[in-house]
Symmetry: C2
Subunit: 437 residues, 2 copies
């Protein structure tokens, strides 16, 4: 995918800027920048320094241009690229001309290709290209600052469902709202919800999935969330929908969902919470699930993940999601293998998250004037980078989205096949499925 | 599922045998046997000693009866239960009256329940109840003795396809042969095979799946197997079918499938080989796959597995499958996370393996006279125990069957949804699927 190293014929040299990195009169800053680009696998991007020098080490036309406002920004970036790219972009000291997502994708892909050509460079390349891209998930626990932003802000771009998790597009042409509803059906069908069953939801956000399950599948839901604002919002919605008899929103930690309710639930479900649980707590999460589920029960965990373990980008950790971590499948298995749970079905739908992020970003860009008035321009840039970088990470395979279906290990009340999930797929699926024995 | 401890009212005491374990005049052997049954979680089985004493610690009617021929057998079993149960059964020193599979299931389930009531007993209970149940898979590498048995023997009970791996039952009423064909379609559909593509199969057994892919999906297959007899059999079949231009059987180790063929294949597939690879070699397997696959490729590994790691039963290791090991999903992830592969889809179809084993066992029991003439009665008992114990292990959740679909991490030539696998499911699926972008 990436090009051969083309240091002798950099693309910039074909332009009329006269400042290609290999020129003898290039400044030290330009030379260092050229070396950094080669380390990144020669992405097709052009760097423009404060003095007008242009650097591009790829032979392909640049997909975007990165403009440095001053020497200090470059110095900071060199010292701590993972943190400082996001900081400089948010401050406006580093500008991007062209498509922000395409820039991220190009950096990711060049890094992947470089790592394949020379595995020894994998670690440095991974380190650098992870700069602006990382987790995207619902807030939990120590991420209150993410939610203190307020419901008004999120309602500007999450769409009607207010679901802040990966949607499921039955076709790529579906709208964001359609895909969020389809996601809720897809998860409900995998769980083979039946009327009258009891569901515990760990981390329920603004509550739309709990309402969906109650409305379309006739189940009773106890939905946990530690965010007071979200719980208040969700309760109001349930009341308006006349579903407050079927759905109970509980302002408490998911770890308390099993207390006093030993093996009382038919279903455990968690969509977009695991990212905030922490690998060290996965075994405890498994025990909580085990204490919740009846012997005939089943559960589903939906989470951002990775193909292999990697640390969280420090800019995301500082500015967006403190404490978040997208696990690899191997890491996720600690939830199940520490207790008596059996994994039945794993689906990776990362391309759906890229599409979801495109939908969110489109809404976001429509509302930037209002968002800038609510906050400021720096906030707008910060969130733009976060949405674009996350989209790029799902497109280039740096992030995955796993849905893991499971059941108690001794249960034979498990699906014989997955046929029933896909029977009349695309319908509203109000009819009870028949997949469980 | 299991009963409360009923030491004061053992089921045996309700019979007219007068030798319940708690009776004051019970022998030491009977007392020890009673203690062993309680350790196993009081399975509803009855033990009959050489002196006529009967022991049952469950309050439920026994599902089967185990008869000890002599004191030596009990002594050996006490010293090394995992190995000696199989040895004594094969020798006829330990007889089973009633359904052999039901006996194994009852022991497994009682052990599970005891472990849930008292997690501290889990390890001992697991150790004991794993006695006769363990892996079932195709022979590889150091399991030549399994295959020296010969094609004539296997053709008596594997069915028309000669597929020695888990079948896929579109409905539980499907026949064994129908289900083996359905399995081959199911795997082919997951792989989204398209005419003209190239497939490498690692561990091809008697070659039926390679022929199936060539015939129904128009692909070219290079199929690896180290068994000379199987390869000869497979080549003859390919010639008879007129498919020897499309399918090449190669008598070589799977590790050589990537040599001289860097990223030349569209598809890597392995059905029932991983059990014989060994966890320590999974990363190497991942590198082999990575070297095989084009950037747009995909692969599938189908293997027996477990919900959590556990050692192989020594009787199976000694008599059936030296070197075999069914991994947990966490262990399997070493294949993918050590290199640049992304897991797309995992399906656990363990109930299908129980059904497959029922089909094999039914055929086997129809042929025991011929098998006894080919070998001897001991051989018949050994294989009966192996088939019944494996069936019980899949029924009670001690073993799993995982199909893992994957692709190179950077590939966006991956399915958007799984709809296409299930579209016109049950048809012969000759039409090319359209799931890949």
């Amino acid at each position: 995918m990436a090009n051969q190293s083309t240091a002798t014929q950099p693309h910039a040299a074909e332009n009329d800027n006269g400042a290609g990195v290999e020129r003898p009169h290039a400044t030290l800053a330009a030379r260092l920048m050229g070396a950094a680009l080669r380390n990144l696998g020669d992405p097709a991007i052009e760097i423009v320094l404060w003095n007008g020098e242009r650097i591009c080490t790829s032979s392909h036309p640049p997909v975007a241009r990165v403009r440095f406002a001053d020497r200090t920004t470059l110095r900071r970036l060199a010292a701590n690229p993972e943190l400082e790219f996001g900081e400089a972009y948010s401050d406006g000291r580093l500008g991007v001309e062209g498509d922000l997502t395409a820039l991220m994708e190009e950096v990711n892909r060049a890094g992947h290709a470089a790592a394949r050509r020379n595995p020894a460079t994998r670690s440095i390349a991974q380190w650098l290209r992870r700069t602006p891209v990382n987790t995207l998930a619902r807030s939990r626990d120590n991420v209150h600052h993410h939610y203190d932003i307020g419901n008004d802000f999120y309602s500007l771009w999450l769409g009607e469902t207010m679901a802040y998790t990966c949607a499921y597009y039955p076709t790529p042409a579906a709208t964001l709202d359609e895909a969020q509803v389809a996601k809720m059906h897809h998860v409900s069908r995998k769980l083979r919800l039946r009327p009258g069953e009891t569901v515990v939801e760990a981390g329920c956000g603004w509550g739309s999935f709990a309402l969906h399950m109650a409305r379309h599948y006739g189940v009773k839901v106890r939905a946990f969330n530690i965010s007071r604002e979200q719980v208040a919002y969700a309760r109001e919605r349930a009341g308006q929908a006349g579903l407050d008899g079927q759905v109970e929103y509980i302002e408490d930690d998911y770890r308390n969902c099993a207390s006093g309710a030993a093996r009382n639930y038919d279903v455990f479900v968690s969509v977009g919470m695991l990212e905030h649980v922490g690998v060290a707590n996965y075994r405890e999460l498994g025990r909580v699930i085990d204490r919740c589920l009846k012997p005939t029960g089943r559960g589903l965990v939906h989470s951002i993940g990775r193909n292999r373990p990697a640390p969280l980008n420090p800019w995301i950790a500082k500015r967006i999601f403190p404490g978040a971590y997208p696990p690899s499948l191997k890491e996720m298995m600690d939830i199940f293998e520490g207790t008596d749970l059996s994994v039945l079905d794993v689906e990776n739908i990362r391309l759906h998250y890229a599409q979801t992020l495109r939908g969110w970003r489109a809404n976001f860009e429509q509302a930037t004037d209002r968002i800038a008035k609510m906050f400021d321009e720096r906030f707008v840039r910060m969130w733009r980078l976060y949405l674009a970088g996350s989209e790029a990470a799902f497109t280039t395979g740096d992030l995955q989205l796993f849905q893991v279906l499971f059941a108690p290990g001794a249960s034979n009340h498990i699906p014989w096949t997955r046929d029933d999930i896909y029977r009349s797929s695309g319908d509203s699926a109000d009819a009870g499925p028949s997949g469980f024995l």
